[in-house]
Amino acid sequence: MSSNLSSNLALSLNHFELFSLSPKFDIELATLESNFRKIQSESHPDRFVSASSAEKLQSMQLATLANEAYQTLKNPANRAKYLLELQGIEAISETNTAMPLDFLMQQMEWRESLEDAKAAKDINALENLLREMQQEAKLLQSEIAVLIDQKQDYTSATDATRKLVFIDKVYADINKAIEQLEANL
């Protein structure tokens, strides 16, 4: 069956191919979104009520894959990690703890500011810190776009991606701190 064949094929595609995107860091988010919705509706269980169990299974696998692919490509750090993976590079290895010293110092400082602001229940300070992280993340993202899409410099892109993962973590922790403070107001 043709639908069978196409979902079979879809299951063998990489995340970019699945959404008809070229494998770049700088992607059209609107295209990602609409192509994801399309696959979602095509693989929806309601459409397979009277289908064979093999077809049901395949549509479910496709829905799961599309979900995973969408989550990966939507998030900039995950997208960069995935692009590097396609190049055979594991950017975030658990056994590699070496990071540039100045970056780690900066991390410590941000962490300390976060602790201080939390202790002082200073939402303004937390929001300033959050904005600082947003800016840092944006800078790194444009750096990664140039390194991967234009220069194909995957070594530097790996370093920048590792930094972005750290920034995202601080960002999430600041957000959590703000939410906790606001909940206790």
Binding site: E94, T95, T97, M99, L104, M105, M108, F166
Partner: protein, 131 residues
């Protein structure tokens, strides 16, 4: 995820949190980070002229296992020579704290922090000799 009693103990009562004077020629600093979870660890050791670690302090931002791993190593380091310190393996830390497989990287972080601190103190000693 359930933490072992030892992890909880170190997490709730971390030993030797703080910093030493980084400009002291007898103090070595090791800074490492784990991108997998965004943890950052700073370990400082003070070594006397006989090459024995007299004091150790840490500052870690991360999960309970990362904090426990660094707290534990500061206890282990005191009284050791820098070469003994350098030989500490992450597997020993993981075993002592009964870390589950997903948290082994926290013990790797602690081992790497020790190695970085020892490398720093050795570099300082070399600088002192050649000065």
């Amino acid at each position: 995820m359930a933490y072992s009693d030892k992890v909880l103990d170190h997490y709730e009562n971390p030993r030797n949190v703080g910093t030493l004077d980084k400009n002291d020629p007898n103090v070595g600093t090791g800074m490492v980070g784990a991108p997998a979870c965004g943890d950052v660890m700073k370990l400082m050791i003070k070594v006397n002229d006989a090459g024995i670690i007299e004091d150790a302090k840490f500052k870690t931002y991360g999960c309970g296992s990362a904090i426990a791993s660094s707290s534990l190593v500061t206890e282990w380091l005191k009284g050791k020579t820098i070469d003994e310190a350098y030989a500490i393996k992450n597997s020993a830390i993981a075993e002592e704290l009964a870390l589950p497989p997903v948290k082994i990287h926290c013990s790797v972080l602690a081992e790497d922090a020790i190695k970085a601190a020892v490398a720093d103190i050795k570099a300082k000693q070399l600088a002192k000799i050649s000065a």
